[in-house]
Structure formats: C-alpha cells, structure tokens
C-alpha cells in the first residue's frame, strides 16, 4: 500500500501545468483530488514518475448557469455539487447521485473533473453526463477544444484527452422548465462502486409529452455506456 517513488509538481496555472506535462512527457500524470489515482498508485497498479498537482489552480471551481449551459468547473468537488442550491433546485439528478458515491470524506476532496477524466466505467458521474448530454471542455497544447460526451470515453481508463490535455469544464445543457432525472445505483454495500447504475434524464413539453430522454449506464461495460435502444423507445 505504498506507491513507487514519484516527483511532485505543483502547477500554478493551466499553462504551467501543460508546460510541466510537456517537459515530463508520458511519465507524467495530472492529479486533482487524487481519489481515483492515489489508490491505484498505492497498489502499484499505476506508477507515474511525475505527479502534476492541478488542484491549486485558481478559477476552476465553480457551478454557474451561463448562456445555454450549466457550467461546472473541473475542480469543483463532489461535495460542492452535492450541496449547491442551484443544483438541488434545478439539476437534482446530480445531488441525488453524488450522495451515493463513496463517502463524505472522498466527496470532500474528489473533483467532478477528475472523476470523469479518469475514464473509469465504475464511476458514477460519467453516466450522469451521458444522460445530460454534456460537453467536455479541455485545454491542451493547441488551446481549448470541446468534446461531446459521446466521443469522450474510449476504453478502460482511456478517454479522448491527449496526455497534455486538462479537463477544465463540463457544460450541461441548461435545465428546461419541465425536466428532471434520477440515478439508480445497485450496490452490495453502501459507498461501493455500482454493481450497475442507471441515470435517466427526461424533458417534457407543456402537455406532458416526453420530448427528450437521456439514459447513461454505470459499470456494465468497459466504458460508460449510453442506452441508445432505451432512448429510442
């Protein structure tokens, strides 16, 4: 339960982090809350030689509505989302689901960006983002890019992010008047990874007819999965 030796670098800005990543190449790994990465390092399943700590970069922790989107800063902790009045009021699927993730001490440190960038199909948040049809904003060597959530997850711990890319924001379409969702998690023990989980988001028109539906699944495949056939119905 002791990781291999590594060098620790504290990034002061996104540019600084990207420069550090470029210097140290493939042996470097970004870390925000560290609650997915550190356990893997302790078990020596992952042994990055350089850790670039992005958790102290200013301006990446926010929850706000802007334009057509709810914007979530990548360094927003899961607890901040859980207790945000805006989320509770208009995007309750997030606060409902996050309550089921691990335990409060993990949620106090673990970030929404890290949870998604880790690319683990067992994490709860990716399914939510699938259901909500989110867009991932990342910054890398060639500036910013936006990646639709459906193109983000590539495989077991693999995502569309290049080694130098930092996930900086998640954009979720702004809540419509009659919309809502829920997350159902089957777990053997509280705080566990899901045996399986499902996130469902629906939007109704004024007459109560369903206009839009998003369904994301947790831990049923190597990647977080959209239930296309379910949505078609």
């Amino acid at each position: 339960m002791i990781p291999s030796n590594f060098s620790y670098h504290k990034a002061t800005s996104i540019k600084d982090a990207i420069a550090l990543s470029q210097t140290h190449g493939e042996e470097a790994k970004y870390m925000s809350g560290g609650h997915s990465l550190l356990p893997m390092m302790k078990l020596r399943f992952a042994s990055p030689e350089h850790i670039i700590d992005i958790s102290k970069i200013d301006g990446l922790s926010y929850i706000k509505e802007e334009g057509d989107f709810l914007k979530l800063g990548a360094l927003t902790t899961q607890s901040e989302m859980e207790y945000s009045p805006l989320i509770k009021q208009k995007y309750a699927i997030f606060s409902d689901a996050i309550k089921l993730t691990a335990d409060p001490s993990v949620r106090n440190v673990g970030t929404i960006g890290g949870n998604i960038a880790h690319g683990d199909a067992a994490n709860d948040q990716p399914a939510l983002m699938l259901a909500m049809r989110a867009t991932i904003i990342a910054e890398g060597l060639n500036g910013q890019k936006s990646i639709p959530i459906d193109e983000f997850f590539h495989g077991f711990y693999m995502t569309a992010l290049e080694p130098s890319d930092i996930l900086i924001e998640i954009q979720v379409p702004k809540a419509k008047n009659r919309s809502g969702g829920a997350y159902h998690k089957v777990e053997r023990k509280v705080g566990d990874y899901a045996t399986a989980g499902v996130a469902v988001h629906v939007e109704l028109d004024d007459s109560g007819i369903c206009q839009e539906i998003g369904i994301g699944l947790t831990n049923v495949s190597a990647v977080p999965m959209r239930l296309d056939r379910g949505e078609d119905i």
Partner: protein, 787 residues
C-alpha cells in the same frame, strides 16, 4: 432476571457502567503495536508469492540490497542456518517460516526485506528478483484424495497422500442402522466457505533483542501472550532464547476474533532478524496481506438427519471434508483435531449420532482460525440447524413446533449429549418462546401465508443453538500440554484501591471494566477504584489468553475465587479490629460487621489499611491474592434467534425485515457490554450469511483479495438488531456466568439462511449454501423456473 447486589457507585454485576477503557480509545490515545516506536527501529516487509504452487529456482537479492537503506534480505536459506526455517503448529504439523525450495500457496512469504523505513523496505521488496517455476496447483479438496493427485507434503515422513488426519466420534454402525430404518431421512451437503477475520487492526510486531542483556522483548498483536512466550522458548530455545529472557507485550489490540491466536511466520522472521541484527525490527502487515492470509471455516459437511414421521429426531450423521490449506495450523487448543465440532448434535434430545472428518492438504493458505467461535462450533451449529429446518420442511411441520418437540428439557440438565459433552444448563423452551413472543411469530406466519397467496417471497428462519465455550477443563484442552486454566492476581493497596492482573487479553471485549465489576461484586470496592492490567508477560500471571469466549468462564472465575481468598483473610482482620471472634463476623457487600450488632463494622477499605498497618499478630501482612482457575466443565450458552426476510423475485435482493436474538449466557456482568457484544456478533453473523467468502480460481489465486470484492458489512447493511435474554446460570461457574461473545456469530448465519430458504420454498428451492447473495438467489430462481 438478575438482581444487582451492589449500588451503582460500587458497580458490581448487573450494572451497565460505562467502559473504563473507552476514554483513551475515543480520544485516539490507544497504544497499538504500530504506535510502538523504539530507538533505532528497522522495518521489515515480506516478499510474497504470486503463485499458489511453485518451485523457487533462485532468489536474487542484489538489486534490493543496492537500494540505499535496505540492510538485509532474509531467505529460508538464511534461517536454515539456525534451523528456524520451519516451525511446528499447535496440531503437530509443520509450517514454513520461509521457504527454501517450494511455494505452497499464493501470497506465501518468500523472503523478508529489512530496511531503515517502510517506504524503502517496500521498494526493496519489489526489487527482489525471484525465479519461480510454477506448478499445477491443487485447489479442489475433493480432488486432493484422488489417486494420482500430486503429493503436496513429501517433506513429511510417512506422508503417502494428501490426507492430514481422519477423525470420528460416536457409534457409526448404530447410527447407520437407525438412519436406514427411519421413516424420514433428510440429506444435504452443506458448505461453510472460507472467510476472513477482518479485524480493523492487522497483525504486526516489534521485536527487540538486546545483545547485552540477552533479552528479547516483543510487542505483538496476540490474544495469548503467555502461550506465545512459551512457544518461542520451545521453538527458539536452541539459539539461546530461554523463557525468562523473553517478554511478550500485547498492547491495545484492535480486534482479534481468533485471527490473533496463531504464531505467524512473519513474527518469527522479525524476531530472528532482531536477534541477528541486534536492533528492533517492526513488521506491520498491510491490509492486502491480512486479507489473503489466515482463514476460518472451509468445511464441506454431508449431513443426514433421521426422524419418525411425526418429526421426533432419532439420529444425526455428518461426514466432513475439511480443507486446511498446505498445513494444519489450526488455532485449536483442544485435545481433539476438530475442536468442539462434536457439539453438532445441537439442542435436541436423541440418542444416536456419528461425526467423522477427513482433513486434507491443498495449495491454499493455512489458517484454521476459530473466527469468533469456539473451535468449529459455527460449522457444527450450521449443520444441525439447517438440517432441522430441512426436516421441518420435509414433513410439513412448523420449524418452531418441531424444535419444541425435540428440545432437551430443562430438567434433563446436566445433559449428556450423544457425542460426549455434558451440557451444564439451559431452558431452551423458554428461550424460544421469548423470541417468538418478541417478534410476533404467529402474526408473521399469517402474513407469510397472505404474501405467498399474492406470489410474494417471504421467509421466517429460526436457529436455536447451543454453544460450547470457555476453554477449558484440562481434561479436554491444552496448548503444548499446558492446561487451559486462567488466572487473576489482585493487589489491594493500603488506601483500599486495587490493581488486578489477568492472564487473558482484551481485544475490545471491555475486560478493564468487567473484571473490575466482578471484583466490585465480590469485595465491594468500587469498580472505579480497581485498575485492570493484561498483556505483559513480565507482570501478568500466567494465563492462556482470550478466545473461545473463555475470559469470563476462566479468568472471570479466577477473579471471583481470588477475591474470596481476600474476603476470608479480611474476615480475620475485621474480627481482630472489632475484638470479636471470626465466627461472629458477617459480610455484606463492602463491609464486615458483628453478628447482631451491625453498627459495629469495618469497611473493606478499613480492613485493607489494617492489613498493612494493624494486622493480627502472626498474620502475613499485605492484602493480595492470586488464583489459577481450571474450570470443571465448559459452559453452554444458548439462544433462540428468529429472522424475517423478504426476497425480490426479479433481482434476488434480500431484505432482512426483523431479527430477534434471545441469548441465554447465564448471569450477566455488564448488560451494556453484552448488548454490544451481541450486536457486533450478529453483524459478524450476517457477514458470512450474506456477504463474505474467499473465492479461489483453478490456479489457486484469491479472486477477492480487497475490501472492494470481499464484502464486509457495515452498520448500513446491518438490520436493526433486537436483543433480549433469558438467564439460566451455569451451575459450576462461581458467578453463574457463561460467556457471550461468540453466540451471535454462531447463531445468526443459520437463522438468516433458514429464513431465505424458507422464502424461496414455494419455488421448490430446498437449500442454498452461504453466503446467500442476490446473484446466488437469482440463479437458483432461474434454475427452478426452468424445471
């Protein structure tokens, strides 16, 4: 119910006083082995095998030794120079300390790295290059006895196959005859899987050998410090470690449950390393190591229960295959290789029984930990309680009614069981009646009928167990020949306060409080004025430690007996002080007084002071007493547990709606502590019933070696436990107490299994082995639907 004899201030038996030890635990001030930091201390980390069965072709230490701070890599060859590479087990088997040529189970210790700190030691362990030649592991115990199975222990002289021993008890012929002629015979193969003792504190030690004084001091996570001291002296006497030079200190222990009884190879390596290097060496097992080493259970039991058509039980037979891993390192202090398995005839009155067992070697970790039960009682109780329910289902009789008709009756105690135990006391009928009243049994029976009519799955499960604890009378128990007595030493100081020391060792049971309460009960000295110490072999009287629910039956009895010696001496002093003859002195808790003149009295504190200042001429001064108690019999706590479950047919999800546990553990010292014990034990009972089980693949790899896959239930998964008591004092124990810690762990699994299987009965499902998981239930439902 028990009536308190003392005031709450004195806090004798029956008072729910708060635990004296809790302040330091709640404030984070406990001292566990890993808190011990000695000057110059080094750290040891083990290299462990990825294979279950392999030849070691070479161990290359070079790269590890090249890391600054790595001081030594110790292999089996290094230990062989001192003849320390093997050690004997309690059951006359042998266990590798470190291997010289063959690996026998996955995660076996291969060699040890000693370094200046733990970080370096772990890097060193990774840098050791071991060249293995993997071999086909023998994993299935049923194949271990096949002809042509590889001989796993050719190192043992005369060992021709993989059988460790055959054991049997009872009359085979007569039992077979009764079974052959019976109206009804129910049969089942019941498996109790390997489970893990998930103590919050893992194992560890700090071994410190001083070359100048030739003294060895070991801080050790052990439930039995004196026994370990003697074992070390016997095993390592030839290198100069003799018993007077060895001091074992068991500081605060974060849970034992039997897992801290054995002598683990790493302890021996740490001691050897300190002996060779002359510096303190610390070894702390990490969680992953703890999870895959040592286990409990692993019994495959073929059971047959015979009865008349009305359900009068006539005979029970059980043939067991026991998977011991590569050596029989069972932590079993009884004279019988299967411990107390012969309690398997249960709480019922019938004449014929036969039990036999074959133990075999496989390429799995050794262990044989008696996880929170007297050795093999959990297995025994599960077998009989499942079979009784199966019989009830077979003949269509209510399982409670079937039990009432077969119970040993109150007036039959002491009861000679068919396999040779003498049950001390019990009132099984009253205990089950109380449980049925508390849960509302008839109401649930009705509800169940209604639910079944609606196609819903609801089950009610009963377990009426009899435990056998308190190891034990020297006729049945010993460790390396040492009788299983236990001890108490009381020193009452001139100011009337006391220090009491015991040969047992609390791992969370609350001894510092309950022993003080026993002495308060006997002497009238407030429990707050009595300090209790255990665990240091240099100061505590010799004892055999804490496991098998033995502390109250043995050391608790010793405390009472030692206190009575003091009381007798005090009477003489009181007579002297009051200027009357001893015959004229009477005692009420805490006070001697003159018969017929109660105003003329001396308190126990007055008498203690006089014992140092103003004692009768010719009397030995001081107020101290010691007692070593060899119990005349075991104690037989019992209980009736009832569980109500609902099962969701679509998913197999199990919901425990109610769980009522009525325990009869005789007289109770501290009801609050007993309730805590029962809650913890029930939770450790639902664990194997619904969650836990070590899973191996065909290569002998443990597939669930982390808490992510090995599910240990928490408070959230636990149902609301409802507890209660009947009190039938033990007739042979000085306090009438029996011990309670293990009953709930033993009694809960069959109650839960019986409830779930009862819920599934309408689908035709007659048995499921524990752990009964949603997946297992779902599969069983699908299989029966196809039929």
């Amino acid at each position: 119910m028990f009536k308190c004899k003392t005031s709450p201030e004195v806090g004798g038996m029956g008072h729910s006083v708060k635990r004296k030890e809790d302040a330091r635990f709640l404030h984070g001030k406990g001292t566990y082995v890993d808190d011990v930091k000695l000057p110059g201390q080094l750290t040891m980390v083990m290299v462990r095998s990825p294979y279950a069965y392999a030849k070691i072709k070479n161990i290359n230490k070079e790269k590890a030794l090249a890391i600054p701070g790595v001081l030594a890599v110790i292999t089996g060859y290094d230990l062989a120079e001192y003849n320390l590479h093997w050690m004997p087990t309690l059951l006359s088997d042998t266990q590798m300390v470190l291997p010289t040529d063959t690996i026998m189970h996955q995660s076996q210790e291969v060699c040890a790295v000693i370094a200046t700190d733990r970080y370096i030691a772990v890097d060193g362990a990774e840098a050791v290059e071991v060249d293995y030649e993997p071999m086909k592991a023998l994993v299935d115990p049923y194949k271990a006895l096949d002809e042509g199975a590889p001989l796993l222990r050719p190192d043992k002289e005369g060992q021709k196959d993989n059988q460790i021993y055959h054991w049997e008890k009872g009359d085979r012929e007569k039992t077979d005859e009764v079974i052959a002629k019976a109206d009804v015979v129910v049969k089942e193969r019941i498996y109790l899987p390997r489970i893990h003792v998930a103590s919050i504190e893992t194992c560890g030690c700090v071994a410190s050998y001083d070359k100048d004084t030739e003294k060895l001091k070991v801080y050790l996570t052990t439930q039995a410090p004196h026994a370990i001291r003697t074992i070390i002296a016997l095993v390592a006497g030839h290198i100069g470690l003799s018993e007077e030079k060895i001091r074992i200190i068991a500081p605060d222990i974060g849970g034992g449950f039997g897992g801290k009884v054995p002598m683990y190879p790493s302890y021996v390596v740490a001691i050897a390393a300190s002996f060779l290097i002359g510096k303190p060496v610390k070894w702390i097992e990490d969680r992953s190591e703890n999870l895959v080493n040592g286990f409990a259970r692993d019994y495959h039991m073929d059971c047959e229960l015979a009865a008349t058509k009305d359900g009068k039980i006539q005979a029970f037979k059980v043939s067991t295959l026991a998977d011991h891993g590569y050596t029989d390192s069972s932590a079993n202090p009884s004279k019988y290789p299967t411990g107390m398995f012969s309690i398997c005839t249960g709480s019922y009155d019938y004449e014929h029984a036969f039990a036999e067992l074959d133990a075999v070697y496989t390429n799995k970790a050794p262990g044989g930990v008696a996880y929170r039960c007297s050795f093999r009682v959990t297995e025994a109780v599960h077998a009989i309680e499942r079979m009784v329910d199966k019989l009830a289902a077979e003949i269509g009789k209510d399982p409670a009614q079937l039990r009432f008709e077969n119970f040993i009756k109150k007036e039959q105690f002491p009861y000679a069981s068919p396999l040779g135990w003498s049950y001390d006391s019990g009132d099984y009928k009253a205990t089950l009646e109380k449980a049925m009243d508390m849960i509302g049994y008839d109401k649930y029976k009705k509800e169940q009928a209604e639910k079944r009519a609606q196609g819903k799955l609801m089950g009610i499960g009963i377990c009426t167990f009899t435990e056998v604890v308190g190891a034990g009378p020297s006729k049945d128990f010993d460790i390396l020949g040492i009788a299983m007595f236990d001890s108490a030493e009381i020193r009452v100081h001139p100011t009337g306060k006391a220090l009491a020391r015991f040969g047992t060792k609390s791992q969370g049971q609350g001894h510092e409080t309950t022993y003080a309460q026993i002495l308060a009960e006997e002497l009238g000295i407030p429990y707050t004025d009595i300090e209790v110490e255990e665990g240091d072999t240099d100061t505590a009287p010799y004892g055999l430690g804490t496991y098998a629910s033995r502390s109250t039956p043995t050391a608790g009895a010793a405390a009472a007996m030692a206190a009575r010696k003091l009381k007798a001496k005090g009477k003489k002093i009181a007579a002297y002080l009051l200027e009357v003859s001893e015959e004229d002195i009477e005692w009420e808790v805490g006070k001697y007084f003159v018969k017929g003149a109660p105003e003329k009295s001396k308190t126990i504190q007055d008498v203690a002071f006089a014992a140092y200042t103003n004692f009768p001429p010719g009397m030995e001064p001081g107020f101290e007493a010691t007692h070593y108690y060899d119990p005349p019999n075991l104690t037989f706590p019992n209980g009736a547990y009832i569980c109500v479950v609902e099962v969701e047919e679509e998913t197999g999800a199990i919901d425990v709606k109610r769980f009522v546990a009525i325990d009869d553990c005789g007289n109770i010292i501290n009801p609050m502590i007993v309730e805590g014990q029962v809650h913890g034990g029930l939770t450790q009972g639902i664990a194997p019933a619904m969650y836990e089980g070590i899973v191996y693949d065909d290569e002998g790899n443990v597939l669930n070696g982390t808490f992510m896959d090995y599910l240990v239930p928490t408070a959230v998964e636990s149902p609301h436990w409802e507890t209660g008591h009947t009190i039938t004092p033990s007739p042979h124990h000085p306090l009438g107490a029996k011990g309670v810690a293990e009953s709930p762990t033993v009694g809960a699994p069959p109650a839960i299994a019986n409830a779930i299987i009862d819920a599934l009965a309408p689908l035709g499902i007659k048995h499921l082995d524990i752990p009964i998981t949603p997946a297992k239930v779902w599969e069983a439902i699908q299989a029966h639907k196809k039929k």
